[in-house]
């Protein structure tokens, strides 16, 4: 269990706790001045806000203390309002049974980073009562929303997993979960900022992938599945290698393996990784 579970899990994983999908999502309100056309900072577009612009400067300056301070301040804010965590496909499907309503919406990250047109960009799943308010903030819900049934959402989720997208839960006003993302490096700002700048807006999941070297045939089916730079082929032994320190536990490699040679293990069961979120 991660720190979010300890605080909001009520004895289980926090994103499987129905309380975190409750109507109190409404406590997040945009400030009144925005209705008049509030100033927005294009640097702040996408998750991680203007923080990354500062992080880049700190990186270039070589000032580690500065970088640490930016991250500490930004994460303190993020963990109270808006952050994400990687989940497995099984967990994602369980969430779809808990959350209602469900609506496909366009991905802000891919719009921000690639300018993806709306019609090609319905890759996010918005959930909860916030979906009924989308017309109030059409910029946030660019291109509108498309309500789907639980079964349609599950089918779509499985397709996304098959296609190789990492699935995450996102809170909008901790601990209320308002979205499920299908992410990739570097198109997803959260994944990118975590991998490139070690900005822990996105938390690792509750599992870690482990290779059974006896079962691995070196078929390479899993290569290309990892979005976290944690997987490659050990060329000399012709076995898959997973950097477990770097693994986020999404399970994309697991389902690609025809030999059942990769297993998802509970992070907490491994002392060396238990605190690695």
């Amino acid at each position: 269990m991660c720190w979010v579970c300890e605080k909001y899990g009520n004895g289980e994983k926090w994103y499987l706790n129905p309380e975190n999908y409750a109507r109190r999502l409404y406590k997040v309100r945009k400030e009144g001045k925005e209705s008049a056309g509030a100033d927005a900072d294009p640097q702040a577009a996408g998750m991680g806000a203007g923080v990354v612009a500062e992080l880049v400067k700190a990186r270039i300056s070589g000032d580690q203390e500065w970088e640490d301070e930016i991250k500490r301040d930004a994460l303190e804010q993020a963990y109270q309002t808006h952050f994400g965590q990687v989940v497995t496909l099984d967990e994602y499907l369980q969430i779809l049974d808990i959350a209602y309503p469900l609506a496909k919406m366009t991905c802000g990250c891919r719009r921000v980073q690639r300018g993806m047109p709306d019609e090609e960009n319905f890759t996010c799943m918005g959930i909860g009562p916030g979906m009924y308010k989308w017309e109030r903030w059409p910029e946030t819900y660019h291109g509108g929303v498309e309500f789907v049934t639980t079964e349609e959402a599950k089918e779509w989720a499985m397709m996304n997993h098959k296609e190789g997208r990492v699935q995450t839960v996102d809170v909008f006003g901790t601990p209320y979960i308002g979205g499920l993302c299908q992410c990739e490096y570097p198109g997803c700002v959260a994944v990118r900022n975590r991998i490139d700048y070690d900005f822990k807006f996105l938390l690792k999941g509750h599992t870690v992938a482990k290779v059974d070297r006896a079962k691995c045939t070196g078929c390479k089916s899993c290569l290309g599945r990892c979005q976290f730079k944690a997987l490659n082929l050990e060329v000399y032994t012709s076995k898959a290698y997973i950097d477990m320190d770097q693994c986020f536990g999404c399970g994309l490699c697991v389902t690609a393996c025809p030999s059942e040679a990769i297993e998802l293990i509970d992070r907490q069961s491994m002392p060396g990784l238990a605190e690695n979120w």
Partner: protein
């Protein structure tokens, strides 16, 4: 060397619809977002701006400059240490202001 990427916003007026530089960049250096957010309607296309947020990842391939239909992008490289010095000064000023 580190990239310094500038946009002439008089020339780049509808970046989200154009999106050529966003699409071509092999290092995903650019971000494009609204400068104003409104209740009840989407931001106007002219309210969008592109910036080179991840300029530290820029290789200097120049594809964005080549692909830009309005020649709105200026790409220059400066020595890392020169930029580091500038940012260290910014940081020092920030700390000084905080402690005053």
């Amino acid at each position: 060397m580190i990239a310094q990427i500038g946009f002439d916003y008089n020339l780049c007026t509808d970046p989200l619809d154009c999106r050529k530089c966003l699409s071509v960049c092999p290092s995903v250096v650019f971000v494009c977002g609204p400068t104003r957010v409104w209740k009840g309607r989407e931001s106007d296309p002219s309210e969008y701006r592109i910036v080179g947020r991840y300029f530290d990842k820029c290789s200097g391939c120049g594809d964005c400059v080549k692909v830009c239909p309005t020649n709105a992008i200026q790409l220059n490289f400066v020595p890392r240490e020169q930029l580091a010095q500038k940012f260290r000064e910014e940081r020092a000023a920030q700390l000084k202001e905080r402690n005053s």
